[in-house]
Symmetry: C2
Subunit: 194 residues, 2 copies
């Protein structure tokens, strides 16, 4: 097997950079030139490796799921102290909103930006959101079984409401608000659990 010049970059590293780029700058606004400038590879290498801008973006959503969202879900699936895990997860989104870069959440941003006119991406985003909701639901059910949750609360409802509030915090995080305001919103949200 003859072989030529080796790849000068790690595909996964570039994907990581691309994810952070779209996360912060959005999909529609920045052009290819700006994107390439942030990736550290040539324009043609980009098209050869990842296909179109849209293809790359879809790969970034999967990467976001695997590297960012998965950490919240891992927290929620831990066996001990499910109520504590729930608070921890909400605090994760609080941290998102507190972040100075005001990136929000890649998935939430994409939901808004793509609207309904790209069914494939839309379905992918919906599916991604369902993963988070599933994590919440799992922890809520265990919390209820342990008596950590008032018996009147319905896990299915709260799971959806927490997912919803998480998205809200991600969007709120795009405005650069006082840390105190964000913490207050988070504290209010946790009132759902008591």
């Amino acid at each position: 097997m003859r072989a030529g010049r080796p790849k000068a970059f790690e595909q996964s590293e570039v994907l990581e950079k691309a994810m952070h780029f779209f996360w912060e700058r959005g999909y529609c606004k920045p052009g290819i030139a700006e994107l390439v400038g942030h990736l550290g590879i040539g324009r043609q290498s980009l098209y050869d490796t990842f296909g179109s801008k849209r293809d790359l973006f879809i790969k970034c959503i999967y990467h976001y799921r695997a590297t960012q969202l998965s950490t919240v879900i891992r927290i929620l699936k831990e066996a001990s102290d499910p109520l504590g895990r729930l608070k921890e997860a909400v605090r994760f989104f609080e941290a998102l909103a507190l972040d100075k870069s005001a990136r929000g959440c890649l998935v939430a941003n994409a939901i808004v930006e793509f609207g309904t006119d790209d069914p494939e991406i839309c379905a992918l985003l919906d599916e991604t959101l369902a993963l988070l909701e599933g994590g919440y639901l799992d922890a809520l059910r265990r919390a209820k079984r342990l008596g950590q949750l008032p018996p009147t609360k319905k896990p299915a409802h709260i799971a959806k409401a927490l997912t919803n509030a998480s998205i809200g915090m991600a969007v709120t995080g795009r405005l650069s608000k006082d840390a105190a305001e964000i913490r207050a919103a988070c504290a209010g949200t946790l009132a759902m659990l008591g």
Copy 2:
């Protein structure tokens, strides 16, 4: 005072159409041609009357505030039964999310789309959100005074959390989800009040 051909359109009617257009299609994606096609006036009339695309969008935010957001705030400021008003307001955003057109909320959409790179629009959106939060806070304080709210709940926190959840519902509404799912999320959110 000599005068010529009269204006063939009502400025406020065109503004209304423009608002609905940006609401549904976003700001960045659609071009001027598509916009003009929906307004029913000529391209040059658009620039003469409203200035640039960005100028028009800012006017649309004000219009949205005056025609859409104001109805929620009016509900929240009604004197009687503040807890009922709060539920009514949350149900307003539930209706937003249930809407088949999947428009979400113009303000929430704009927050995501503009990120941090347009300080003027950003400040306007922040200010607009504060109006909603103020409405929630007002009703919450009155509810607490009337004993409709558990004394442990802090109106300032809940007001921010409800604002946050409202944004979340607006974003969730951009995905076309089952009505049942949206109603469940809404029901869970209302658990904050009990």
